[in-house]
């Protein structure tokens, strides 16, 4: 770069445009590269600025020096004609393989410079990053606040399935965080072990197992099950109506059992914040914390929390086959072992009595 500031532009082999990024630094850029940006092009043509150091064009505030370099790389490549489609594709794909933060900055910068092709390229890359993620994951990636209320979250058309077990874990997480916050306030660093969740599930299980003998099904009438077309189907529902009455004697008396209601209390949600796990693993005595908690914790403490929650989840999941055994044995049925050998194939031994 020339050391002297020239007021008059001498005709040279290469012309330059002078640009100033938001930090104040001034850059000298080859003309054809700089003019690739519509915003710069416009400035040059309309105001005549940019021909020297003293009249450098101020770039929009989104363009810091690091991003500026990236943009120049892009322009330098793309303003040369004759690249094959394959070359362009390879360059573009490589170009957006940068960390998300940089990608965001690049997108904003390209937008402010009106570089539409680059805006499209980076926007598509950001879209791909967003696709397939949960809201929480997206928040984490872009460091966004979790500022929607429970009501607002409920209101959108909910396409996302919500594993009740995950919700329970979130509640535990929240409770744990709150506990830790409390302790932090008291300046007590020692963290207590989370009480082991070895609660008996007998309350819930007993009524599932208990009176089941009498629900041995109504052997429904042998009617045709499915017809694919309405014109073919006879009215099966009217045919079945008579047969159904045969089953009425075999109703479980457990309906009036007190356990029933208790179990329902445990599983039904009173309002959106008191969701519980409907399945086998928790007794009605388990308490849940209302409300969400601020996430204002040390990353190290958070890590520990995460580990505990993970442990808990693993215990939940590993218990499952055993509990299935309990349930099945309660049904007076020989268990069918499904053994998995090394390559993942299974052998089924059916020996039902």
């Amino acid at each position: 770069m020339s050391g002297t500031a020239m007021a008059v532009v001498k005709p040279e082999m290469t012309s330059y445009i002078w640009l100033q990024t938001v930090d104040g630094s001034i850059h000298q850029v080859e003309e054809e590269v700089a003019m690739f940006c519509p915003m710069i092009c416009q400035e040059v043509l309309q105001t005549g600025m940019g021909s020297s150091k003293t009249c450098a064009i101020s770039l929009p505030h989104h363009v810091n020096p690091a991003i500026f370099d990236l943009i120049l790389d892009y322009c330098r490549f793309h303003q040369v004609p004759g690249h094959s489609n394959k070359e362009l594709k390879i360059f573009n794909e490589k170009f957006v393989r940068i960390d998300t933060k940089k990608l965001c900055e690049l997108t904003s910068a390209a937008d402010s410079l009106q570089l539409k092709p680059l805006v499209d390229l980076t926007s598509r890359a950001l879209a791909r990053i967003i696709e397939g993620k949960t809201p929480e994951e997206i928040r984490e990636t872009f460091h966004l606040p979790d500022d929607l209320t429970e009501e607002e979250k409920l209101e959108p058309l909910r396409n996302v399935t919500d594993d009740p077990r995950i919700r329970l874990l979130n509640r535990l997480y929240a409770r744990k965080r709150k506990e830790l916050q409390e302790r932090k306030k008291l300046k007590d660093v020692a963290v207590e072990e989370e009480p082991k969740d070895e609660r008996s599930v007998e309350d819930l299980l007993s009524f599932i197992n208990g009176a089941d003998g009498d629900i041995k099904g109504t052997r429904a009438s042998k009617n045709k099950k499915k017809n694919r077309r309405k014109d073919q189907a006879k009215d099966l529902s009217s045919k079945n109506a008579n047969e159904n009455n045969k089953g009425l004697n075999l109703l479980p008396s457990a309906y009036h059992n007190v356990n029933f209601d208790k179990a329902l209390e445990a599983s039904a949600s009173k309002h959106s914040r008191m969701q519980t796990i409907p399945a086998v693993n928790f007794s009605p005595k388990f308490e849940f914390i209302d409300g969400d908690v601020d996430d204002d914790l040390d990353p190290a403490v958070k890590e520990e929390l995460d580990r505990e929650v993970e442990d808990f989840a693993r215990r939940l999941n590993s218990d499952w086959p055993e509990r299935m055994q309990i349930l099945s044995l309660g049904q007076d049925r020989r268990l069918v072992p499904i053994s998995v050998n090394g390559n993942g194939s299974t052998h089924l031994y059916t020996s039902l009595c």
Binding site: S123, L148, G217, G247, L251, L264, A268, T346, L352
Partner: protein, 585 residues
């Protein structure tokens, strides 16, 4: 609080990023990220999918998404296809059309499934949306050809008009003539479900003046000798549904037809084929190798003719056929159609007591062996074995939709007389991406244990005449993490499993149970405890209050909703509410 400083985008930039994200699930995720994203997303949402028309009110949708251009709405539960939902149940699209007519003048696309659409609705659509382009009515009812005439007359920019398996009162075949002569934008026309003749010359003129026509599905009443003319008017066709495929055997009709077919070099999909006269089939042979989709499910021709046809379709990806194809035919398919992804075999005589064709489980096993891309199956047959199911499962771990319909209920493994638990267990265990499953045959609670354990990606499950106790239902509700739709009929499932898993129901779109053992009392309890669910009892015997609380209800339909109770229920539907379960009628 946020550990790091959030990067803030200009709104237009974020909107631009969102414009590349189309999938409903992702749009949903975006809207749940934070307040500002919610706001931006709702203003740039162009397509909305409403899986259950009663899950949300038209007003809510319209208020939240002001700039929608395309909407898809589904109404009645799936079991309505099997006549399990009585007349007048609901799913009226009227309130939706009215709300959208006021809010979305630029609406372009409406797709409805299992909804009641009246002529007034169609007229309102025709007059309210200036740029209206796509109307797809699948399994809908309630309208006549007069409504269609209104659409034809007013929608200058109509591109697609599809009546798939809808019940249309066919008043007059001249509705087609309501398309003005200046109208040329048709891309897709499906009138296959219309009962009566349409004005054939109007149809011919329409077809020949629309250069972008790609899909034409005719109804049965279009005679074969007019087909050649139609084809000549649209050689660019990609998808064709013939009318009745029969005529007096005349050489000139045949050669005319063969020539016309040969001229359609883009044809990839064929359907129709009512009343097939086998000697006319060779007319399509020249284009067989281009076909990716073939629907012969109305063609009552025998195995040899079917084999001759299908064996030439080496690029076939989708095949729908009657069980006349038989095991022998399926073996040929397994050898010839290596690209097959979807197979549906329908029963030619479902009500007969004895098998009328040589189609057994072996046919499906052959296809599962020979067609490595097979992922979607609907198969009607009369016998099945655990070892066959295990073989299929091992052959095709890439299966995503598996619907097996053994015609007689509760038929055991014909080789061992065992229940088919192990076989279906193998299916769910091996096919890790299985999203849809229909069960049949003799099944105990064990099969549900397998499904609950392995069916982690399962979204829709259909069950009939299966299980022994509540444990079966409990396994499914507690184990299937991604379950969205569960439909059950004639199973001994009662209150316990349902109430124990009540919270699960809020994570699903809907649950249907008919001819089971769920008591009225349990329904009331559910309705009281779960404000986000609509618990609807369908009982044509009269008010459930007139029977004891422990008496089982006929039918139960539970679905999650943010719009509260629906107000358009017929007399035989009772909603279980907070305070009183009595309807004021």
């Amino acid at each position: 609080m946020r550990p790091k400083l959030a990067y803030s985008f200009p709104e237009e930039v974020l909107e631009h990023v969102f414009s590349f994200i189309e999938c409903d699930k992702d749009r949903g995720s975006i809207s749940l990220v934070c307040k500002s994203w919610y706001e931006i997303e709702r203003w740039c949402r162009r397509r909305v999918f409403v899986g259950n028309c009663y899950a949300v009110s038209p007003a809510t949708v319209v208020n939240r998404f002001p700039k929608v251009r395309s909407i898809t709405i589904k109404g009645k539960p799936h079991f309505a296809d099997f006549n399990l939902v009585p007349e007048g149940w609901g799913a009226y699209v009227g309130p939706w059309i009215k709300a959208m007519a006021a809010a979305y003048p630029w609406l372009q696309e409406i797709r409805l499934k299992r909804m009641v659409v009246t002529d007034e609705c169609l007229e309102l659509i025709a007059k309210s949306f200036k740029n209206f382009g796509v109307l797809v009515l699948t399994s809908c009812e309630g309208f006549t050809t007069d409504g269609l005439a209104a659409i034809a007359a007013h929608c200058r920019n109509l591109r697609e008009l599809e009546l798939r398996e809808s019940e249309v009162e066919d008043i007059c075949g001249h509705w087609l003539s309501h398309f003005p002569d200046s109208y040329t934008s048709l891309v897709s026309l499906n009138i296959s479900c219309l009962g009566n003749e349409v004005n054939l010359s109007a149809l011919e003129r329409l077809v020949s003046r629309c250069p972008n026509l790609q899909t034409l599905r005719l109804n049965r009443a279009v005679p074969l000798d007019r087909l050649a003319n139609l084809l000549r008017g649209a050689p660019q066709l990609v998808e064709l549904g013939t009318g009745a495929y029969t005529s007096e055997m005349r050489p000139e009709v045949f050669s005319n037809l063969a020539e016309a077919f040969a001229g359609c070099r883009q044809l990839k999909s064929l359907s129709g084929f009512w009343d097939v006269l086998p000697s006319y089939l060779p007319a399509v042979y020249p284009i067989c190798s281009n076909l990716t989709s073939l629907n012969m499910s109305y063609a009552t021709i025998q195995s040899p003719d079917l084999i001759k046809l299908v064996s030439q379709c080496e690029n076939l990806q989708r095949l729908w056929v009657l069980d006349y194809i038989e095991d022998a035919g399926l073996e040929v398919i397994a050898a010839s159609c290596k690209d097959l992804r979807e197979l549906r075999v329908f029963p030619s005589d479902p009500f007969g007591l004895e098998p009328n064709v040589a189609l057994t489980e072996q046919g499906l096993v052959s296809v599962s062996e020979g067609c490595s891309k097979l992922q979607s199956v609907l198969y009607f047959c009369r016998q099945m074995s655990n070892v066959a199911l295990l073989t299929i499962a091992r052959n095709r771990p890439n299966m995503t939709r598996f619907r097996l319909c053994i015609i007689e209920p509760q038929v055991p493994d014909y080789l061992t007389q065992d229940p088919l638990d192990a076989g279906f267990g193998a299916i769910v265990e091996h096919c890790k991406d299985l999203r849809r499953l229909s069960l049949s045959g003799l099944l105990t609670d064990r099969v549900f244990e397998y499904i609950g354990t392995y069916g982690k990606k399962l979204e829709m499950l259909s069950v009939a005449f299966a299980g022994d106790s509540d444990l079966g239902l409990h396994h499914v509700l507690s184990g299937c993490d991604n379950l969205r739709k569960l439909e059950i009929r004639d199973c001994p499932f009662g209150d316990k499993a349902l109430l124990a898993n009540a919270a699960k129901l809020e994570t699903m779109r809907s649950l249907w149970m008919s001819s089971c053992l769920v008591s009225y009392g349990a329904c009331k309890l559910l309705g009281q405890k779960m404000p986000m669910l609509n618990v609807e009892v369908i009982d044509e015997r009269g008010p459930p209050d007139s029977r004891p609380d422990n008496s089982p209800v006929e039918k139960l339909y539970i679905y999650r909703t943010v719009s509260g109770p629906r107000l358009d229920m017929p007399g035989y539907v009772w909603r279980m509410e907070d305070d009183s379960a009595l309807r004021i009628s």
